[in-house]
C-alpha cells in the first residue's frame, strides 16, 4: 500500500494533478467550498490560472466529517489538505511528515440564549463562574442565575464533549468543572443554534459565525464583561475562541500553492469575514 501511494505520488510529477481535496471541520467546510467555487468559476481550467499549468479542469473538492477526520485524512493521504477548527495537538503533528498549517481566521464561541429569555435585558453579562455553574448543573433554574427570571429549568446545549469546539470551551471556561451529564449534546453547530432558537430556556455556545447569520434569533451574552465583537475577538479580549486552520503534509505542489495564496488573499479573507468569522489578516 505504501508503495502504491508513493508510485501515485511520483506519477503525479509528470501527470499534472488537477484535483485538490479538502477534508475536515464542518465549520470550515462551507467557507472552503465557497472560496473554491468562486475560484473555479473564475478560472475554469488550470491554464487560465497560470500559463505554466496545462489545460486541465479545476477540480477542488471540499468534504466535511470533523476536524479530527481532517487530520486523519491528511495522515492517510486520502486528502490533500485537512481543515481543522481547533489547534492541532503535538501528537497529531508528529504523525504528519513535513507538517504545515495555514491560519485562515478565528471563530469565537458566544454564550447565547433565546430572545424570549429576559436574561439579556436583565443581566447582559455572565461571569466565568456563573457560566461554569450553569453548565455544570449547579444552577438548575433560571431564577438562580438572576432572581427576577422565571423559575424554569435551564436547558444546557453543548457540542459533543469530545470534539474541538467543546475542547475550547472546556479549556477557556469550564476549567476542571464538568458539564452536567444530562446536557443536550448537539451533533452540529446548526443543531445547537436550532435548539436555542426553538427552546426559550436553552443556553449554549453558538459559533460567532452562526450568530451573525441568525441575526436576532439568538442573543449572545457578554462574558466577564467582554462582548463577542470582532475587535474583542481579534484583540483576544474575548477569550472563548478557536483558530481556523488548513493543514498539509509535505510540500505544496505549485497548483496547491496557488490556491492557498488565493485563500489567504484579500478576497479569501473577505469571504471568511462574510461567513461571520474573524479573518486572520
Amino acid at each position: 500500500n505504501e508503495v502504491n501511494r508513493d508510485q501515485a505520488a511520483e506519477s503525479t510529477e509528470d501527470v499534472f494533478k488537477s484535483q485538490i481535496l479538502f477534508k475536515g471541520s464542518s465549520t470550515l467546510a462551507p467557507v472552503l467550498s465557497k472560496i473554491s467555487t468562486e475560484f473555479i468559476e473564475e478560472y475554469e481550467t488550470w491554464d487560465k490560472v497560470n500559463k505554466d499549468f496545462p489545460n486541465k479542469s479545476l477540480d477542488i473538492f471540499v468534504s466535511a466529517g470533523g476536524s479530527s477526520a481532517g487530520v486523519k485524512s491528511v495522515i492517510d493521504g486520502s486528502s490533500d489538505f485537512g481543515m481543522v477548527s481547533r489547534s492541532v495537538s503535538d501528537e497529531e503533528k508528529g504523525k504528519i511528515e513535513g507538517y504545515q498549517e495555514f491560519k485562515l481566521g478565528v471563530d469565537a464561541l458566544t454564550v447565547s440564549v433565546n430572545p424570549k429569555n429576559q436574561i439579556y435585558k436583565l443581566k447582559k453579562n455572565l461571569s466565568t463562574e456563573e457560566i461554569q455553574k450553569i453548565f455544570s448543573g449547579e444552577y438548575k433554574y433560571w431564577d438562580q442565575v438572576e432572581t427576577s427570571l422565571a423559575h424554569e429549568e435551564i436547558v444546557v446545549v453543548t457540542r459533543d464533549l469530545g470534539g474541538g469546539a467543546h475542547g475550547v470551551f472546556q479549556k477557556k471556561v469550564m476549567g476542571d468543572a464538568q458539564v452536567k451529564a444530562d446536557a443536550i449534546q448537539a451533533p452540529s453547530m446548526g443543531a445547537l443554534v436550532t435548539k436555542i432558537i426553538e427552546n426559550k430556556n436553552a443556553i449554549g455556545y453558538a459559533s460567532y459565525g452562526l450568530v451573525n447569520q441568525n441575526g436576532g434569533k439568538i442573543i449572545p451574552l457578554d462574558v466577564d464583561g467582554v462582548a463577542p465583537t470582532k475587535e474583542n475577538i481579534i484583540s483576544g479580549d474575548y477569550k472563548i475562541s478557536r483558530p481556523l486552520l488548513v493543514v498539509k503534509k509535505g510540500t505544496l505542489l505549485p497548483q496547491e500553492e496557488t490556491f492557498i495564496n488565493e485563500l489567504l488573499s484579500e478576497e479569501g479573507m473577505k469571504t471568511i469575514e462574510r461567513m461571520g468569522f474573524v479573518p486572520a489578516k
Partner: protein
Amino acid sequence: MKRTNKHLGIKLWSILSGSILIFLVLYMNIYIFSKGKEGLSIDFLMDMPKGFPLGTDGGIFPAIIGSIYFTSIACFFAGMIAIATAIYLNFYCTNKRIYGGIHMVIQSTAGIPSIVLGLFGYTFLVVHLNFGISLLSGGMVLGIMIFPFIEVKVEKAFQEISKELIYASYALGISKAYTFFKIILPICFGEIISAIALAGGFAMGAVAPIIFTGGVLYAPEPKGIFSPAMALPYHLYILIGEGISIENAYKTAAVLLVLLLVLNSFSIFIGLFRKVE
C-alpha cells in the same frame, strides 16, 4: 348464526393502523412539500448551488445527479450480491451450519451503524484499495449498508414459492440455473424490484456512509466513478447542520422525495408487466 360483530377487534386494529399509516405518509409528505414548495422551481433543479454561504441560493443540480449515481451504484452492487447470496442460501446451500452462519453474519451486520460502515469504507476502499474519495467508494459503502435488507427480502420471496413447483422443474432433469431464470425469477421479479426500491430509498437518503467516502460539499456533475460528488442528503445535512438554510433544506428534501417517487414508479412500471404467481 350472525357473526357480523365478530373480529371487531382485528378489524378496528387494522383500520386504525391503516389510518395511522396513511396519516403518517400524508403528514410527512405534506409537511415536507408545504415547507419546500416555496421557490421550488426549474432553476432550483437545474442550477448549481450558489449564494453566500453556498447553498442559500441557486440550485441543487449536481446533487441530484450525484444522488442518482450513488444510488444506482449502491443498488447495482447490493442487488447483485444480495440476489446471488439469496440464491445460494435458498437453492444451493445444503449445509445447515453454513446456512445459519451466513444468516447470522448478515443479520448482525445489518445493524452496524452506517457511520461505522463509512469508516470501514474509508479504510478499506478509499485508502487501502486506493479508490479515493469517490462515487465508487461511496456507492459501494451504501451498497454494503442496504445489502442485508435486500437479501432478507429476496430470500423470503424465494422461500414463498411453492416447493413442489420448483421440484417439478428439477424432476425434469433441469438445472437450477435454468429453473431459476425460467420459473423462479418471473414469479419473484416484482418482489425483487420492490426490495431494491425500498432499500434504494434508504440508500438515497443516507448521509453517514458517504461523509467519509464519497460526498463533497460542492462539486460539478461527476466526470466518472472515481470523482467525488455531491449528494442530496449530504447537501441537506450541511444545510441543516451548519444552519445555512432550512428553507433550502426542505426544498432539497422535496426534490429527493420526487426523485424517490420516480424511482418507485419505475419499479411499479416494471411490476405491471410481470404477473405474480
